[in-house]
């Protein structure tokens, strides 16, 4: 039985696999190959999508999407060999669109909703990209690095005058 790293490199071209620490393996994939990678990993037993996250690499001009996959282990199985995978892909900041992974992992639905709201990433094919947390529309999605929350608070909240009796 070959390790998961070998399997991934054997099945996909242009994919970077790297062990970053004990029990964590980073898998960097192309935007186009993301769904097939996730599908493959799910079939390999990585059925637990822990987290879908996004890192705003503003200097490189990209959004780095992070999918954390692990196995549902039971009994005496210990995760030392069955490392969690950190699957990464990049989308350009100028045109942040990506195909949704809801069809592979149902769990991704609220995460992608949140990322849409917080980073402005459009997940095509997502069942409901409605606002999740925020009440009012903010022009710039707030989790982006160029969104200055202190300035926003200063402008929007502090400018409202106190009520004088």
């Amino acid at each position: 039985m070959s390790s998961i790293e070998e399997k991934i490199t054997a099945n996909f071209d242009g994919i970077e696999v790297r062990k970053i620490e004990e029990g964590r393996i980073e898998v960097k994939t192309k935007k186009e190959a993301l769904l097939s990678t996730l599908n493959f990993l799910k079939d390999e037993g990585y059925g637990h999508l822990g987290l879908v996250s996004c890192v705003d690499r503003i200097e490189e001009g990209i959004f780095e999407l992070v999918y954390i996959l692990s196995r549902y282990l039971v009994g005496g199985e210990v995760a030392v060999d069955q490392a969690s995978l950190i699957v990464k892909t990049e989308v350009p900041r100028g045109n942040p669109t990506l195909v949704t992974s809801v069809k592979v992992f149902e769990t991704a639905e609220p995460y992608e909703r949140e990322l849409h709201e917080m980073f402005g990433i459009v997940f095509s094919g997502h069942p409901r990209l409605t606002p999740l947390f925020l009440e009012r529309d903010i022009d710039l999605p707030p989790m982006r690095k160029d969104f200055d929350t202190r300035k926003y608070v200063e402008e929007e909240f502090e400018s409202i005058p106190p009520v004088e009796d």
């Binding site: 009440e135 903010i138 608070v153 009796d165």
Partner: protein, 187 residues
């Protein structure tokens, strides 16, 4: 009940009954809520003083805002406050409703709650212990006694200011003004 109490009851039944029958409607806005259950259960038992949580704002006369107020929560808070029958009192928990507390720079929490609804008392601390809650309530009693807990009157008087602040925050509020906004400012 000693004689002084009795005389007080006969003289000012409104104040006395409001003091000793504080029915609470609360918003679980964050951390402060964690100390509400201890205050109403076995250890502290707020019902000794007639403080009792009720289901809807219509039945309540004390509004506890237990912590920071996010934008999404403020709207229900305003609605709930307006649905309470007068006389009504509001007490805000923790440092956050006063000036934002540790969330002073968050894009989703408003920093000064009293810009949008009147607050009769603050209980400072992050978050206030049950003892502080009781201290706050006894302080509210003295405020009621002295007639200083008049936030609802203030709200009525300055409704146009409150309403305009609320609308600046949200644009459309989704419900018509509670009182007439015109012509009140001059009074």
């Amino acid at each position: 009940m000693d004689r002084r109490q009795l005389i007080k009851w006969l003289k000012e039944p409104l104040k006395m009954s409001n003091k000793y029958s504080l029915h609470v409607v609360y918003f679980c806005t964050g951390c402060g809520i964690i100390e509400i259950p201890p205050s109403i259960t076995a250890r502290w038992d707020a019902e000794r003083f007639g403080v009792k949580p009720v289901a809807t704002p219509r039945q309540a006369n004390l509004f506890l805002i237990t912590g920071y107020v996010s934008l999404k929560t403020l709207k229900p808070i305003i609605r709930t406050y307006e649905q309470m029958p007068a006389p009504k009192y509001t007490v805000a928990f923790g440092s956050c409703p006063i000036d934002g507390g540790m969330y002073w720079d968050s894009y989703n929490t408003i920093n000064h709650l009293d810009k949008y609804i009147p607050i009769d008392g603050y209980i400072a601390g992050c978050m206030p212990r049950p003892e502080a809650v009781f201290a706050g309530i006894t302080h509210l009693w003295t405020l009621i006694d002295e007639g200083k807990a008049d936030g609802y009157k203030k709200y009525r008087r300055n409704y146009s200011q409150y309403r305009s602040n609320q609308e600046r925050l949200y644009g459309e509020l989704g419900w018509p003004p509670r009182f007439e906004t015109e012509g009140l400012e001059n009074e």
